[in-house]
């Protein structure tokens, strides 16, 4: 190692490895830095732009004293509190069900997964027609002898309608992660529990749930993040209305940037959104031990 003749080929081999690494990594690094980091920094800079002798946090102060923005935070929070537990509970229920010895199980799984492939805009316009006052959903509801539901028209049901559209796609998607997780739980655990006389409910509580801890945490966080970013269904179905009842934060930022033309508060809104998302994701890294 220390003698001169053996050192130089080692060094050149190492240098060729470094050059290759640089060439292979540069495009991805540039792409990610330019497409993710740069816009985040530019949003922070725009939102902190000094205007006259006002303090740097002026834009944030303006944003947080604006009732429409506060309403959109409230709506986003309400939406999260409803949609995340609902989707995860349904996904878990279906995953457990479809991990049993169900006849033609592959067919059911494929059919439940199908909506995942459907573009959000397509699902939004299909549901838009389904939700019409004289649409097929009210047709079913009336056939059951119940009064019509004013799905997208009333502030009290519009947000729930968005929840339905998002869950039609979401449940099958998140179910797939949980099915994979359940498959990884050793069958012998269930057999042993069965011999000890444990019923399906006890097996679920003491074997499935602990065994699913990691995939379940992942689904919880990834689902929460994706539901903070819902945009297409709101933009197509309600544009945030009626009376701001579906004004999720992505729609709010979009409107500030392109309808009101207020880039400063739009950027501040983006910063708030990124901060929320990063906080949720950091929580995941804190709660999941043994990660890189």
């Amino acid at each position: 190692m220390t003698s001169a003749p053996s050192k130089s080929p080692m060094r050149s081999a190492r240098r060729s490895m470094w050059t290759t690494a640089a060439i292979m990594l540069l495009p991805a690094i540039i792409a990610l830095a330019l497409l993710r980091l740069w816009p985040s920094i530019s949003a922070i800079v725009t939102s902190l732009q000094p205007t006259g002798d006002r303090p740097v946090w002026y834009t944030f102060a303006r944003l947080f004293s604006d009732p429409t923005f506060l309403n959109s935070l409230k709506v986003t929070l309400l939406f999260s509190v409803i949609v995340n537990p609902l989707q995860i509970a349904l996904a878990l229920w279906l995953a457990v069900t479809l991990s049993k010895r169900v006849p033609a199980v592959g067919l059911w799984r494929t059919l439940i997964l199908l909506p995942v492939a459907v573009p959000q805009t397509v699902s939004a316009i299909v549901w838009a027609v389904a939700f019409r006052p004289e649409g097929p959903l009210n047709g079913v509801i009336n056939a059951l002898g119940l009064p019509s539901v004013p799905f997208l028209i009333s502030p009290s049901t519009a947000l729930l309608s968005i929840v339905v559209v998002c869950s039609w796609v979401g449940v099958g998607y998140w179910m797939t992660f949980l099915v994979a997780g359940i498959k990884d739980i050793p069958k012998s655990l269930y057999e042993a529990a069965g011999m000890d006389g444990a019923g399906p409910w006890r097996s679920f509580l003491h074997i499935t749930l602990p065994g699913l801890r990691r995939p379940l945490m992942f689904v919880l966080v990834a689902d929460t993040v994706s539901n903070f970013l819902v945009f297409a269904p709101v933009q197509i179905l309600t544009q945030g209305g009626p009376q701001g009842s579906t004004d999720l934060i992505m729609n709010q930022v979009f409107e500030r940037a392109y309808v009101t033309g207020d880039m400063a508060t739009a950027s501040a809104g983006t910063v708030v959104l990124i901060a929320i998302v990063l906080a949720v994701v950091t929580l995941q890294f804190k709660l999941l031990p043994g990660k890189e």
Binding site: M17, M24, L32, S40, V122, W168, T176, A180, R214, L229
Partner: protein
């Protein structure tokens, strides 16, 4: 398989009571959209309310909606979507594979910080920063171009993670032996790692494909020109129009959903496998 007990079979059959309704609910909106696309335009709303058998099964089947729709501007939107998705998948998979190979196999100074940048950018969801990014892209005159539409799809942190994970499981002794035989690092990448990772490459390609085909906010911001519209934006336009032809709208919906459905059905195994390994197995 032969160890199935009677109790297991019974509980499996009982599970059908949940599986079948869930599958029906998942597929029903699509079946209804298809049947609406296949009927004459003026019949789309005829059987919606009150319900009848014709709500799901058209009285007269016609392909007129598809013919009229594709004869108009919509076929450009479909072609644009295909071009954007294809370019993104090819470029995105290649870019992710080389980056993943460097991170998984090569030893170089600064590997830690580089990986840190990737993790950080992976954590920032694209939709969150789409609006400030669109301002930058417009300043760089990239609006209404394929480059502008494709670029955000190729930098996929998720695809890099998937491939890196897979590459790290390939025994390094293979690469060492090939290096001693005089193969370059690019040769190791091309002749050893790529052929061994075909399923993961398909998985990474699917991640990029699904992202691009779903993409709505970004093309809405960056490619508003009618000639550069992609299918999801063209579909959304139907919802905003007054006096829209609903038969054609459903035909467009079926076409825009049909391409990814086909891809999903062909690659379902890789799709679910790539989903499953993306977040849960670290």
């Amino acid at each position: 398989m032969e160890t199935a007990t009677k109790a297991e079979t019974r509980s499996g059959r009982r599970a059908l009571w949940i599986a079948i309704p869930a599958a029906v609910l998942s597929v029903l909106p699509l079946v209804w959209a298809l049947s609406s696309a296949l009927r004459p335009s003026d019949e789309v709303f005829r059987y919606l309310y009150p319900l009848s058998w014709h709500t799901l099964i058209p009285e007269t089947v016609t392909f007129d909606n598809f013919v009229t729709l594709l004869g108009g501007e919509f076929h450009w939107a479909l072609i644009n979507s295909v071009i954007v998705a294809f370019l993104s998948v090819v470029l995105g998979t290649f870019l992710s594979a080389t980056a993943a190979f460097a991170l998984a196999v090569l030893r170089f100074p600064g590997r830690g910080p580089v990986f840190g940048v990737l993790v950080l950018s992976f954590l920032i969801p694209f939709e969150a920063i789409a609006i400030p990014l669109a301002t930058t892209f417009r300043a760089m005159e990239m609006q209404n171009t394929y480059i502008g539409l494709v670029l955000p799809g190729i930098g996929s942190g998720l695809a890099i993670f998937l491939l890196r994970q897979f590459f790290m499981n390939i025994p390094p002794s293979l690469a060492e032996a090939a290096r001693i035989d005089g193969l370059s690092w690019w040769g190791v990448f091309r002749h050893i790692y790529l052929p061994l990772s075909r399923p993961s490459l398909v998985g990474a390609g699917l991640v990029v494909f699904v992202f691009q085909w779903q993409s709505f906010l970004w093309p809405l911001l960056i490619a508003p020109d009618p000639a550069m519209k992609v299918a999801p934006v063209a579909i959304a336009d139907f919802a905003g129009e007054l006096g829209v032809d609903y038969g054609q709208m459903f035909a467009g919906a079926i076409l825009a959903a049909g391409v990814p459905l086909l891809v999903l059905l062909i690659f379902q195994r890789q799709f679910t496998a790539s989903l499953a390994s993306s977040g849960t197995k670290e």
